[in-house]
């Protein structure tokens, strides 16, 4: 059994120390690799399409390298650079708002028992399982009336419907592992409420809250249906622009936009992995 295999049998297992287990772990790694390959396979044609054009059946590989799609993506006339900024702005806004609104609720749910808790939980879960289509159709007229339909602000507000539950649920689980007595101690050591928040609570919970924020960002960033309905097509975010080019048959531009649209998710994922790794290093230093 190689050193790599030994490392791979880390998960505690009563029967771990047999040659057979090493093979199993290797099989598991091959199977996982295969699964990952399958999950990522759709991105192969996306990658290829983004650097070519006029790529017809039966050509397996693109006929020639052509970066025109990226030219379109980068040109102000296409509206795509503006859409990137708009999408980022909406997603950031929705993230900040849902954190401000949702984290306190997450704290209440994570730390306290109270009458009516079941109803609050149900209300928070509901947007996750009730398709937003009807909600958005119902809100459309109200938003029009308030001058919010067709505006980035309106889209951002309506994005709170799907982002808020994630923030509340993730932060509830973060707070359920938090001992609020540390805050008491900090208070008696001379920290004001605000100082406790700034120097104790937030830094202590930062990794978990960062994950909540990342979820909120990604949920808003990927949103399609709500943006389409409440934005009335006038708030073209990246997923909408992508679909516009798909329905226009511009595979090359669509592919380039698709890659651009995947980018923040990738960054977010790597970032959250690093945050969590740092947190586990911090908490695990020297062992508990």
């Amino acid at each position: 059994m190689s050193a790599v295999d030994l490392a791979a049998t880390k998960p505690a297992d009563v029967a771990a120390r047999t040659g057979r287990t090493g093979i199993r772990a290797r099989t598991a790694r091959i199977a996982t690799g295969a699964l990952i390959a399958l999950l990522l396979l759709p991105f192969v044609p996306v990658l290829l399409w983004s650097v070519t054009r006029g790529w017809f059946y039966p050509a397996i590989l693109p006929p020639a390298l052509d970066l025109a799609a990226w030219g379109v993506v980068g040109s102000p006339e296409s509206g795509i650079p503006a859409a990137v900024l708009r999408s980022v702005g909406i997603a950031l806004g929705a993230t900040v708002l849902s954190m401000l609104i949702g984290v306190p609720a997450g704290r209440a749910l994570g730390l306290h028992a109270f009458p009516g808790r079941r109803w609050v939980e149900a209300l928070v879960l509901a947007p996750l399982v009730v398709p937003p289509l009807a909600v958005a159709m119902g809100l459309h007229a109200v938003f029009l009336r308030l001058g919010l339909a067709g505006t980035a602000t309106g889209v951002m507000i309506v994005h709170l419907i799907p982002t808020l539950p994630y923030v509340v649920l993730v932060s509830a689980s973060v707070f359920s592992r938090f001992d609020p007595r540390v805050e008491d101690q900090a208070r008696t050591l001379g920290a004001s409420r605000l100082q406790v928040l700034r120097h104790v609570t937030v830094p202590m919970l930062a990794p978990g809250l960062a994950v909540a924020a990342l979820f909120a960002f990604l949920v808003s960033w990927s949103q399609y249906g709500l943006t389409l309905l409440v934005g009335g097509g006038q708030v073209p975010t990246m997923p909408l622009i992508l679909n516009q080019y798909v329905t226009a048959g511009r595979s090359d531009v669509a592919a380039a936009i698709a890659l651009l649209t995947v980018l923040p998710g990738l960054v977010a994922l790597v970032l959250s992995a690093r945050i969590l790794a740092r947190a586990s290093r911090r908490d695990g230093e020297g062992g508990r």
Binding site: W55, Y57, P76, G79, L146, G233, Q234, Y245, G249, D252
Partner: protein, 411 residues
């Protein structure tokens, strides 16, 4: 429960209390349609025009957001804000929703590229600014007596929109695969049966697919004359049976034996480009040239029109009744039909869309400039098209045919 109820009603109350997002319009509608154009131009300076149009073609996007916007900025101090939509129906929906919500001023849409049933819906709902079109300074270059200008899919225009472009339906084929395409619709239908699986059309409500079905409908009726004028249920029923019969008979010979249809024209184009089928079509033949250039179609793509005729239409720009910036929208509409701008738009290097102007009203050299515009080899010759032009059906016919197709063929 009561708390939630209160909160939700609270939102409604807030909405009711809020003033409908209004923005003062400097000139009342009546003044807009009668004032000297210099007054309107002066009022328009500094305004922003939200121009809603289909946004799936980067040439159009580049033209509108680029040179067109720049010219408007330089010359009139107007900011043109291009708002691309996936479907013009979304814009109609927006105006309808605003109307329902009681927003009678300060609406989101200032100008929209429109025709056909979308125009009919807005016009019949009284949702458009009307009575200005023929009074625009550049309107003198438009032949308002031409029935294909004066009627938009059978709906009288009546000064509620300004013609922008002309288009005519054409078929496309790959000359490398199909050296000699059938010349008439009858021959084409025979070809489809002789070559099973090599043709399909996009299902309505796709605009182009719907147009193809109308060709079959007119073929079944024995020509466009039989379906002219307002909608008539008896006439429809008589033709429908035959027309949908043809399409139903055709189904087994279609791509995937008609079990499914492409849901939009882009899907049909992709099928054609990848040799899954041998034909595609478009209401705007310049697309074939542009498609070859941007890699959507093979270089050997060519286009043709059936000898029995193909449908022609005019597309327009219109101003909603509640547009926030009507003066500027008028200035933009007027500029869009200036010979200079029409020539630029008709250049295949820019967009290639045929002019809506009557070339006879132009000075000879200006008219000659239009005639001298180059043509992409994939695009059918304009005169060949013009010879075969058929007027469009009225929008009511269109609705009935689409609904009939969904009931009989498309399920």
């Amino acid at each position: 429960m009561p708390i939630r109820f209160l909160l939700s009603t609270g939102l409604v109350a807030a909405a009711l209390a809020a003033p409908a997002a209004a923005e003062t319009v400097s000139l009342p509608d009546a003044a807009l349609t009668s004032a000297p154009f210099e007054t309107i131009t002066a009022a328009a300076r500094g305004q922003t025009v939200n121009f809603f149009l289909w946004g799936g073609d980067d040439r159009i996007n580049a033209y509108v957001a680029g040179p067109l916007a720049a010219t408007l900025k330089d010359r009139y101090g107007i900011t043109l804000n291009r708002i691309g939509v996936a479907d013009t129906a979304e814009v109609v929906n927006q105006v309808l929703s605003e109307k329902e919500a009681g927003i009678d001023a300060g609406g989101a849409v200032d100008l929209v590229w429109i025709n056909g049933e979308n125009f009919r819906t807005l016009k019949s709902g009284g949702l458009l600014l009307c009575g200005y079109a023929e009074g625009l300074p550049n309107a003198r270059h438009v032949d308002w007596t031409d029935p294909s200008i004066a009627n938009d899919f059978g709906t009288p225009v009546e000064g509620c929109e300004v013609p922008w472009s002309r288009a005519q339906f054409a078929m496309a084929y790959d000359s490398a695969r199909t050296p000699e395409p059938p010349a008439t619709l009858a021959a084409f239908l025979a070809w489809v049966k002789a070559n099973p699986g090599r043709f399909t059309y996009a299902a309505p409500p796709d605009f182009n697919g719907s147009a193809f079905i109308r060709h079959v409908f007119m073929y079944a009726a024995g020509g466009p004359e039989a379906l002219g004028g307002p909608f008539d249920q008896a006439r429809f029923d008589a033709v429908a049976e035959k027309a949908f019969g043809i399409l139903t008979d055709l189904e087994p010979f279609l791509w995937r034996e008609g079990a499914t249809y492409p849901t939009d024209i882009a899907q049909l184009n992709a099928l054609f480009a990848n040799s899954e089928v041998d034909f595609t079509f478009n209401y705007e033949p310049t697309v074939f040239g542009a498609g070859v250039e941007d890699g959507r179609f093979p270089p050997t793509t060519r286009s043709f029109a059936f000898d029995d005729g193909t449908l022609a239409n005019t597309s327009y720009v219109a101003i909603p009744f509640n547009a926030a910036h009507k003066a500027a929208a008028l200035v933009v509409a007027n500029h869009l039909i200036s010979p200079e701008e029409q020539l630029r738009k008709a250049d295949p290097a820019v967009w290639g869309m045929a002019t809506a102007l009557d070339l006879d009203t132009l000075p000879p050299d200006a008219a000659e400039a239009f005639r001298a515009l180059p043509r992409h080899p994939a695009v059918i010759d304009g005169e060949a098209l013009a010879d075969r032009a058929m007027p469009e059906l009225s929008a009511d016919w269109l609705d009935a045919i689409e609904a009939g197709w969904l009931r009989t063929v498309g399920r």
